[in-house]
Amino acid sequence: MLLIPCPYCGERPETEFAYGGEAHLTRPDPAAASDAEWAALLFLRENPKGWTRERWRHGAGCGRWFNLTRNTATNTVGESYAMGAAPPAFPEAPST
């Protein structure tokens, strides 16, 4: 079980959180988006081996959504940051 640093509450066990998938997806203008662009939004994810940025919600706590860096190869938890904040650099280059 991971220990996840909620930016608002501090470190809490993973069971208090809900995973929300890849972060920083951009929802294109629905009026202008092509079928391919919309399909990419719905279905295509990076799923890298190594560092990634993902969304979490502190559902059993403050209820806030935030972003988190995590290494999918080692399950190392990096930094959390508020929605809308600039993403921090990864500790090392993602090994894809």
Binding site: L3, P30, L42, R57, G84
Partner: protein
């Protein structure tokens, strides 16, 4: 049976004799014994039969590595299978049972079947039951495996007996957070814990044994620490640590898993191995693995015979348990580290019949009735035993040591690598594990007490981030496994290799592994899976190095290149009851009850689970069947009035200046045009265009809405709305609050509904003019504040009354006293289906669009965007051939179709028939006097009038396709 207890010595308490049972017979041991040592002292040498070949087996060890003596503790509901005899401290009244052996381990019928060893070679199951080699007919035909062979083989080869009922014991879970966790209270672990605690760190020290000290507890001559015996220092250090605030020192506690970020899981089982065990969840900043090392047996023909034991087990028998295991011993080791054993044997009155020299090998052992008689020893010439020079030595015990292997299970489980260290003659940790995990002592290849102690102290200080302090002088009495190497004896060819056991718990021999490599399974993970070497509950503790060695030799590779296989938690079997803790039975999951629950119980309701809610499904009276009860409840709603508890509906209060804009984006239809005082049915989609949830939206004021969700989906909808609000539209000034458990709700439906509602809201004007269908009002209900929503899910005139949660039962009482008949969710389903109203999760499954449901009318074309709008335009969602919702009438009106029945065009079509769709809802309708259904069918909108077939469980019924509105087609009843 004979008593092998030495007259004095040992760490047993002779003042506290303990009676116990094994295989139905009574025995006696002492406090300080384990079941294993007590059996050995009582002369019980055969403890069960081997897994596949049913060979008699005894104790190989007296520690956690034991592969043979795996027992069932207790019987019936109390049975605890898979307990290692040497890990269960003796307690009064313990009853242990062998895992295998019928009628008894010493006389086992299956072992007489001399044919077993041959067919049970590596790959037996694949070759016999899946390969082309054996004609199917001989094996009992197509289902012969399931019908005949698996039950027989399971009975003969099972791994213990499951409890017969619910575990009656209560188990606890403890959660602790420390700076440093140390696994193992041997000298290295104690030194580490002591150094960390002295440096100011909070420390958790877990030890599986009943006392601290590790190997020194079993040593004939202990190391000396600070001028005194190691066990005295160990006991004092352990006690001091357990007294220290913030520190925990736990005995009989086995760390069984190490997980991400320093999360260590350990199981504490009391003496006797049963009742009120605990799981410790330990979160530590740093972890020191001082898990020690395990001795590995030599592999030679007959090495599995009872009486052949690890050298460390012999030493422990004498020094710790005061047992004289035999009278004449053969000593066989591949290193020089057991020099002290001969002296120990002499002191215990054991004659050393032979010590196998480095240029000799054991080529076989003779046994009778599970007792060792003699050992064959031959000189080794050109890497093979010279059988012409073989000599036979009579002996009743044999001590073997193939060297020591660091216990690195927890390291390996976190992805840690190992490499072969030729100088140490074992695999050692080679990085790759979890950050913050340090390995100390024998686990790090420091086999001598002084080196292990110093290593532990250094690692403990490092873990606590303090400078190492001075350590007391440590004096060794043991040179360690000096010169150890691969633990495989030179073995002659032929049948000898079939009797040289590598994995004793799974009965895997040298011959099995060689066969596997000949057949191409040369990678260690492949050889493991093909032969099952290392796959038993002991995870191959005594087998791993030997397995790698045989694979290396037979493929001409270096053992370091072959490597050892990976491991997964748990390190030792953990009772399911312990993992479950208190969260079993009624505490397994949260149960949510509505405020009327006591009334529903009193009415004799049959409940169904909707999410975590208990909802009344129907109310059978006297001998009424479910169908009769539901029909009566439906009739009450259609003829007079019914009352349904709808408190479980999810309710969300939406407030803010941008509430209207938010609601417009969430629902497919317009919510900005909804006037305060009015309600509107709404559908939510996911961004892929698929239906997600539905409910009624009421506008409270210009900047405030009240929305309802389906009962089971309330939390998911709340999360979903928060997601959009917080992440995609943070600029919208809107706040959400779940008010599900603030408002209790009762739906009153039927021609008499208005009269009943008026009786409890006397000031309210409920006329069609003041409160038409899809309007709502604030009202005084039973003298308090409430809301009345004019909505209908039954097709009848309907009112949903909301009152504060604590008033829910009073509301229910008032409504039923005024004449409303209680109806449950089943009647609700029938009534809504008669009107063609969908239920999310019945008519939808995440692949259904509003258009598929015939609800295109609810999808606004005027709004710039709403969630799902763009998704609905995807080519596959507008193509022909999609499944669409239709009504079905079975031609035989008495038939009620199975929900989930497949719709096909031709019941005589060859299998597999093309499937057009499936039945989503199906009920008996008292109002229509027939069975009826809804179904999703390919191009269903164009099939009205078609005759199709609904197939389920071997039966096909002809059905007529129609629209979904079965009752009161014009909807006059609803509008009153």
């Amino acid at each position: 049976m004979k008593n092998r207890r030495l007259p004095e010595g040992g760490r047993i308490d002779r003042a506290r004799p303990i009676s116990f049972q094994y295989a139905g017979r009574a025995y006696q041991g002492y406090a300080g014994d384990t079941i294993a040592s007590a059996l050995l002292a009582n002369g019980v040498d055969v403890i069960g039969r081997s897994f596949k070949r049913h060979r008699p087996r005894g104790l190989l060890s007296l520690g956690i590595e034991e592969p043979n003596a795996v027992l069932n503790i207790g019987r019936g509901r109390d049975a605890l299978p898979n307990r290692i005899a040497s890990e269960v401290p003796l307690a009064p009244g313990v009853a242990a049972w062998p895992t295998r052996g019928w009628p008894s381990p010493t006389f086992d019928i299956a072992s007489i079947l001399g044919a077993w060893p041959a067919p049970l070679a590596a790959g037996f199951y694949y070759k016999t039951f899946m390969g082309p080699g054996v004609p199917r007919a001989l094996l009992g035909g197509r289902d012969g495996w399931n019908r005949i062979w698996e039950p027989v083989l399971r009975r003969m080869a099972g791994q213990g007996t499951a409890p017969t009922g619910l575990d009656p014991d209560a188990y606890d879970h403890m959660n602790i957070y420390v700076d440093v966790a140390v696994v193992g209270a041997g000298l290295a672990g104690l030194a580490a814990a002591n150094a960390a605690a002295s440096g100011g760190a909070s420390v958790a020290l877990v030890e599986r044994d009943i006392a601290p000290g590790g190997r020194s507890l079993s040593a004939v001559r202990q190391p000396m620490i600070d001028g005194g015996p190691a066990d005295i220092w160990a006991g004092g250090t352990f006690a001091a640590l357990s007294d220290k605030p913030g520190c925990h020192a736990l005995l009989r506690t086995t760390a069984f898993g190490l997980y991400d970020q320093g999360y260590l899981a350990a199981v504490e089982l009391p003496e006797g191995g049963k009742t009120a065990g605990r799981i410790w969840h330990i979160r530590a900043r740093k972890i020191v693995l001082a898990t020690g090392a395990m001795e590995r047996p030599m592999v030679f023909p007959g090495n599995d015979r009872p009486g052949v034991k690890l050298a460390s087990a012999m030493e422990a028998a004498i020094a710790r348990y005061a047992i004289r295991p035999g009278a004449r011993a053969v000593i066989y080791a591949n290193h020089q580290g057991i020099d002290g054993l001969a002296a120990a044997f002499a002191a215990a009155g054991i004659e050393v019949a032979a010590q196998v020299a480095p240029d000799e090998a054991v080529t076989g052992v003779q046994a009778s009735r599970g007792r060792l008689i003699s050992v064959d020893i031959a000189p080794v010439r050109d890497g093979a035993p010279d059988m012409t020079q073989r000599r036979r030595v009579s002996a009743d015990m044999m001590a073997t040591s193939g060297g020591w292997t660091p216990a690195l299970q927890l390291h390996v489980m976190t992805g840690g690598r190992q490499r072969w260290d030729p100088a140490l003659g074992c695999f050692v940790a080679d990085g790759g594990g979890q950050d913050g995990v340090l390995i100390a002592g024998a686990a790090a290849g420091q086999f001598q007490a002084s080196a292990a102690f110093a290593d532990g102290a250094a690692k403990g200080a490092e873990a606590a981030c303090v400078a190492p302090s001075a350590i007391p002088p440590v004096q060794d009495f043991d040179r360690g496994p000096d010169g150890q190497g691969i633990p495989i004896a030179p073995i002659a060819g032929g049948n000898a290799r079939k009797r040289a056991f590598v994995d004793m718990q799974h009965d895997v021999t040298v011959a099995d592994l060689e066969l596997a490599t000949r057949e191409g399974f040369t990678a260690i993970e492949h050889a493991k899976r093909y032969t099952t070497a290392g796959m038993a509950t002991d995870q191959g503790r005594t087998a791993q190095v030997a397995t790698a060695a045989v694979v290396a030799t037979s493929t001409g590779r270096d053992i370091g290149d072959v490597g050892v296989s990976g491991l997964r938690p748990p390190v030792t079997p953990v009772p399911f009851g312990a993992l479950g803790g208190r969260r079993v039975g009624p505490l397994f999951d949260l149960v949510r009850k509505t405020p009327t629950h006591a009334r529903q119980v009193a009415l004799g309701a049959v409940f169904e689970d909707v999410g975590q809610w208990k909802r009344a499904r129907y109310y059978p009276r006297a001998s009424e069947s479910m169908r009769d009860a539901v029909a009566r409840e439906c009739a009450a709603v259609r003829m007079s009035a019914g009352a349904l508890d709808v408190s479980t509906l999810g309710k969300i209060d939406v407030q803010g200046p941008d509430a209207a804009e938010f609601m417009n984006r969430i629902y497919t239809n317009r919510m900005d045009t909804l006037k305060p005082g009015r309600c509107r049915y709404g559908l939510m989609l996911k961004d892929d265009g698929m239906v997600f949830d539905d409910g009624v939206v009421a506008r409270i004021t210009a900047d405030r809405y009240h929305l309802t969700t389906t009962s089971g989906n309330a939390a998911a909808v709340m999360d979903w709305l928060e997601d959009w609000l917080q992440t995609e539209w943070p600029h919208l000034r809107v706040r959400l609050a779940s008010v599900t458990e603030q408002w209790a709700g009762v739906a009153v439906a039927g021609p008499d509904a208005r009269r009943i509602v008026a009786s409890l809201a006397s000031d309210a004007d409920l006329s069609n003019e003041a409160l038409p269908h899809l309007a709502w009002m604030e009202a005084q209900i039973l003298g308090g504040r409430g809301r009345i929503f004019r909505v209908s899910f039954s097709g009848e005139m309907g009112f949903e009354i909301n009152v504060p949660w604590r008033q829910g039962q009073a509301l229910w009482d008032a409504v039923t006293a005024a004449g409303a008949t209680p109806y449950g969710t089943e009647a609700m389903h029938v009534l809504r289906a008669e009107k063609g109203f969908i239920v999310v999760g019945h008519e939808t499954d995440g692949t259904v669009t509003p258009h598929d449901l015939g609800m295109g009318w609810i999808v606004s074309s005027k709004k710039a965007d709403f969630i799902g709008k763009r998704g609905l335009m995807r080519p596959a969602l507008v193509a022909k051939g999609r499944k669409q919702l239709v009504g079905l009438e079975p031609e035989d009106a008495s038939v009620v179709l199975d929900e989930g029945a497949q719709i096909i065009a031709d019941p005589d079509a060859p299998s597999p028939a093309p499937m057009l769709g499936h039945v989503t809802s199906s009920y008996w309708s008292a109002a229509l006097e027939r069975g009826f259904a809804m179904a999703l069918i390919k191009d269903g909108a164009e099939r009205h009038g078609d005759r199709l077939w609904a197939w389920s469980l071997g039966k096909a019924h002809p059905v007529r396709v129609r629209d979904t509105n079965f009752y009161d087609v014009e909807g006059a009843r609803m509008h009153g």
